[in-house]
Symmetry: C2
Subunit: 247 residues, 2 copies
Amino acid sequence: MADPPTRSEPTTPRKTSEPPGPRLSRALILDRAIRLIDAQGVTALTMRALGASLGVEAMSLYRYVNGREDLLEGVVEQLVGSIEVEPGERMEPNDGWQAFLQWFAHDVRRLALEHPAAFPLIATRHPAAPWLRPPLRSLRIVEAFLNGLRERGFTDHQAVTAYRSFSSFLLGHLLLECAMSCVGTSFAEEPVDEGNADLPNDDAQLDLTDYPTVARLQPQLTEDHTRAEFEEALEHLLVRMDLEMSQ
Amino acid sequence: MADPPTRSEPTTPRKTSEPPGPRLSRALILDRAIRLIDAQGVTALTMRALGASLGVEAMSLYRYVNGREDLLEGVVEQLVGSIEVEPGERMEPNDGWQAFLQWFAHDVRRLALEHPAAFPLIATRHPAAPWLRPPLRSLRIVEAFLNGLRERGFTDHQAVTAYRSFSSFLLGHLLLECAMSCVGTSFAEEPVDEGNADLPNDDAQLDLTDYPTVARLQPQLTEDHTRAEFEEALEHLLVRMDLEMSQ
DNA sequence: ACCTGAACACCGTTCAAGT
DNA sequence: ACCTGAACACCGTTCAAGT
């Protein structure tokens, strides 16, 4: 903790190219783990690989992290922690709850798109309590979510109901969007086979002869409208909430 | 492929208690793998454990399965294959598209609730093509889905749009429902610590002192209304589709 | 044809030992 | 206090060898 930020790099350089490295720390380890997941996928996040990427042996990590499960838990915590919870300056406090939810939704979406390889962890790892729903799975965020809505006129019951439907909405849309953005990225478990590189991309060689409708509609199925779908579905969710509130 | 279905079971019994076992086969292996996942979770599905549960060494599996990745792929395929795609007798062919989608949604939900531990695989493993969206991620199902809607009056474009919004809806709701039903089941990575069993269940000991609103609303947050939420959200999705079609 | 023993590379994890 | 070497149990996978 009491480390000089950057002197003239007196730290003894080790064998591989690690950063100047103000020694090890849990935060540093989690940061590096997230970067590793982003670059190579979750399965590449190995205690040994993570250690090596920090210029250290795997065993050193166990001082700061309680095993691999705890490491992944920490990664999720760190990522979810990056969700802004206090509306910034761009958000007037007297804007309605619709603006609040719009802003919230887009902040979670930003997180998902920045870390598409890590988002499935946020989505599928068991939360601390069963009523903490991914991706809004931290007490801090749920508290802010509920308060944000109550300050804007929601009753207790309406806020809780909104938390539920909002979670489902975010989970479904963002997980799909991540799945699509992960295909074709550096997710190949094995290095790309260059021998038969005459196959341009890996989705064209599906045999569609038995599925005429899919074959006919493939161009339209291939179009990516995830952004627009997200906005539309969000808009409709807000309309739906509005209807349910006034009844 | 050309195997006698069931004779008088002449197969020699081996050491442990495995079923009469008409020899090994890919289908038998996948069945057993699914049962193992249901009972102990995905991480417990090990080549060695799976082999042992079939009364065989792990290496034998490699005759029928192309490694663990292929095994998991086969599990997903098998599960998705269990989704009925031709409306049964209960469904009149002249029922509207709403009835068709209702029936379809509930069949996928049945699959998710029958295999809550396996559903995250269906949800997050990369599909064969990026435009095949979980959980409707097989050509057979997409073909049936599109045809089912077209036979009931959808245009091509409307059917494709419906496929997209329907996938997001199912994914979000069912994944959340699975997460909730997996908490507290046989998902403990380690055998439950019986030493300090004075903690009744594992969600009560969260420190809520810094989160007054969550603390106050915890009873309502804990209520499980997943079933009703599913039905309501589905109803609203259908209404929304109806509106968009007539405009 | 179908299964296995032995072996290899890699993984998570522990712990006594180094500095 | 912080890191490491050595070791252990377990994993996926290959392959020559058994029957």
